[in-house]
């Protein structure tokens, strides 16, 4: 999709776990691998820390996609946090469907600390996918977003 001669740039929030995916992203960086600049990363200690509310809030604040990335199953630094992330992601996808949000806008990936290449690949793929899906059109978006910002600020 092109508007005003510029390509549409989706906004993606990435919750990356400190031990695997964040390190993997770092590796992609130090290895000078090309990845889309659309991903805005928030570091969490574990993918299990990702509260479903964070994901919903991200969409409300105007994100077009959310990536949750953790260690491979069995490799979690905190033993089983990624399994909890998996369960929450499955639940979230159902919830998003009910809200009328395409469930492909939420993506859960396992990226280990050594998989810089995979990180770059996932980022690029997801960006392309969201580009194809187009911007997220939430009903009464500007007001809702403004309200959400207010609400967060009030907390």
């Amino acid at each position: 999709m092109e508007t005003n001669g510029k390509r549409y740039q989706p906004r993606i929030i990435g919750f990356l776990c400190n031990w695997c995916s964040y390190t993997g992203a770092d590796l992609a960086g130090v290895s000078r691998m090309k990845s889309a600049p659309n991903l805005r990363i928030i570091r969490v200690m574990c993918s299990g820390r990702v509260d479903p509310a964070f994901v919903l809030r991200a969409f409300r604040l105007g994100a077009d996609g959310v990536l949750v990335a953790g260690c491979h199953p069995g490799d979690c630094h905190y033993k089983q946090g990624n399994f909890k992330a998996l369960r929450r992601a499955m639940f979230l996808k159902r919830l998003l469907r009910e809200f009328g949000v395409d469930e492909r806008r939420l993506r859960l990936e396992w990226i280990s600390a050594s998989e810089g290449e995979r990180f770059a690949q996932v980022t690029n793929e997801f960006t392309e996918q969201l580009r194809a899906l187009g911007p997220l059109q939430l009903a009464a978006q500007p007001e809702a977003a403004a309200a959400a910002v207010q609400e967060v600020a009030a907390q």
């Binding site: 200690m45 299990g48 509260d51 905190y78 907390q155």
Partner: protein
């Protein structure tokens, strides 16, 4: 058991029923020579050298002491004129057939014999001739249980043979027959040393062996998979011969649990199986060796005593050393194994010195990276070792001239002169790549270690923290972390040891400030968080009806924070407020 009284050489004695005369007489100091008798074996009575005189009520008779049981009231003479005369004739007949066997010479001299009066149609002048005592056949059957040798034919034509006179597949190359042979007729020839695993990679395999010639502690071990005792429950010959009584077959593997605060993982590397590169002929062509096999061959305590020999025992005229077998190869391992260039040059130096062969090194890039390494490279070049820059295409069996066997051609491109070359060699040495150990995946799972894409364990930071891992108290050193040579392994493990000692001497552990804390006021006591914690850090305070986080056990993963329905858990460093503010910030534009 019933005791029996008898007299031996006039001395009264008492023995258990069933004891042979020989066993009863020897402790009393009687000199009864014997050839076919051996304490480990059942008596056989073949050599007749052990004859003694037994005086009974019906006169006297000559009996073989080894297989005649003692009987009540026997009167045995071991050196009467009858005995000596009979023994002399037996020995004289044996000497007529085997005149040069030293044990027969000694016994004959003892019996006062010089030259035998008789001739023999089957005279054998070999000083190590087989005298048909058949100790070897019997020990192989009764003690070892392998039944690898037997005898054929009868009388003058009797021979000790393997079945059908072919190399015996039942033979476990234990060497018992060699050691029990009184004349040295049987020899253990280290001929086919490939294919028999022990002595690291070359050399014969026995059930009880030294792990390596330089093993520390220098104590033999029993291989339960090949030990006859563990197969049949019999044998235990080692117990009979071990005077200090150090052998105990009933010992079992035991698992010992040790409580530790820190772990250093130094599980080492595995070796690339060179037979995966079929074009190099490893395992298919006789004189293609892997690096560690050559290392054994060059060792003075190795199977060839340090000599460089082809499989048929010749000194090679030309040797090819192929670098980067399985490493720096898109089809196998992309990384450089790091140590191969230098040990390949060491091999070049040693095999040239010992065999005076022409030595060719086939390399991609020569990586003499360490202190003094480049100088060694120059020295080896000065010694006249040839180096060919180019990856070897294949090793083929081909005669140099005429109809030779076991010679090969190395076909490769010499990229420096830009030409295809075929180089004839007698021996090929493959420098196979270092690779992660087969068990690395299991070890990684056990300790929660990460592995890099090549499969080696991942350090915390390649430059700033090369010995620690992402888990506190867990360190890595040596080739399990990546290919490296001995100096580098020593340096890395010393660093790890220092890190471990630093924590021990401090006596206290610093924990991360990132952890969860439950606000008692907000906690509803629903206990949702309790089973979520992988470290069992959350306890439920029954009297206050709230959950509580043990700060020392909490690792700060935040799983409980995300799950708390009343938002009572604060994840320090990653609180809801902080993350929401981050979200707001990065989505503001």
């Amino acid at each position: 058991m019933e005791m029996i009284s008898l007299k031996i050489d006039g001395k009264p004695t008492q023995v258990q029923d069933g004891t042979s005369i020989l066993a009863a007489a020897r402790p009393l100091g009687a000199r009864i020579p014997a050839l076919c008798y051996h304490p480990l074996l059942k008596p056989f009575g073949a050599c007749r050298v052990c004859v003694v005189e037994s005086r009974g009520t019906a006169g006297f008779e000559l009996v073989t002491a080894c297989n005649t049981p003692c009987a009540e009231g026997m009167d045995i003479l071991t050196d009467s004129p009858h005995v000596l005369a009979a023994r002399r004739v037996v020995l004289e007949l044996m000497r007529a057939r085997w005149p040069n066997v030293s044990i027969l010479k000694e016994l004959a001299a003892e019996a006062g014999l010089t030259t035998p009066r008789f001739g023999s149609p089957k005279k054998d002048e070999n000083p190590e001739a087989c005298i048909l005592c058949l100790r070897c056949v019997r020990v192989c059957e009764e003690v070892v249980g392998a039944c690898a040798i037997g005898y054929e034919d009868r009388g003058m034509r009797r021979r000790v043979v393997t079945p059908f006179d072919q190399p015996s597949e039942a033979c476990i190359a234990c060497g018992t027959c060699t050691s029990i042979c009184p004349t040295g007729h049987i020899k253990l020839v280290p001929e086919d040393y490939r294919g028999k695993p022990a002595e690291f990679l070359l050399g014969p395999n026995t059930a009880i062996y030294m792990p390596t010639p330089q093993a520390v502690p220098k104590v033999p071990r029993i291989d339960a998979d090949t030990c006859i005792h563990f197969k049949t429950g019999g044998c235990q010959a080692c117990i009979d011969v071990c005077e200090p009584g150090a052998i105990r077959h009933e010992m079992e593997d035991e698992e010992i649990e040790v409580e530790v605060g820190q772990v250093l993982v130094t599980t080492g590397f595995g070796l690339f199986d060179a037979s995966a590169m079929a074009s190099y002929g490893y395992g298919r062509l006789d004189n293609v060796y892997a690096a560690l096999e050559i290392e054994r061959m060059l060792n003075a305590t190795g199977p060839t005593g340090g000599r460089v020999l082809t499989k048929d025992g010749r000194t090679p005229r030309a040797i090819g050393i192929i670098h980067c077998v399985g490493s720096r190869d898109e089809n196998h391992h992309r990384y450089c194994s790091r140590v191969c260039c230098m040990y390949a040059l060491k091999f070049a130096h040693l095999v040239k010195e010992r065999s005076h062969a022409e030595v060719y090194n086939f390399y991609i890039d020569m990586r003499a990276f360490g202190k003094g390494y480049e100088e060694f490279y120059s020295r080896v070049m000065d010694e006249g070792v040839h180096v060919v820059r180019g990856k070897v295409a294949e090793v083929v069996q081909a005669a140099w001239t005429g109809r030779e066997n076991g010679t090969m051609l190395i076909r490769c491109e010499d990229t420096l002169i830009g030409r295809f070359r075929e180089i004839p060699v007698d021996m090929v040495i493959l420098c196979n790549a270092l690779q992660p150990d087969d068990q690395a995946r299991k070890v990684a799972r056990l300790f929660g270690l990460s592995r890099s894409p090549d499969g080696f364990f991942l350090e915390r930071h390649p430059k700033l923290d090369p010995v620690a891992t992402t888990t506190d108290g867990l360190f890595v050193a040596g080739c399990c972390q990546g290919p490296k040579d001995i100096p580098d392994s020593v340096a890395q493990s010393s660093a790890a040891a220092a890190r471990i000692l630093a924590t021990i001497s401090k006596g206290a552990v610093e924990i991360e400030p990132i952890r969860a804390e439950i606000s008692e006021e907000d906690c509803s006591g629903c206990r949702t968080c309790n089973p979520l914690c992988p470290y069992y850090a959350i306890e439920f305070l029954a009297e206050k009806q709230v959950s509580h986080v043990n700060a020392a056990l909490c690792k700060g993963c935040g799983t409980c924070v995300a799950a708390c329905p009343s938002g009572a858990i604060a994840g320090h460093g990653f609180s809801d407020r902080q993350i929401n503010a981050e979200l707001e910030g990065i989505l503001a534009v």
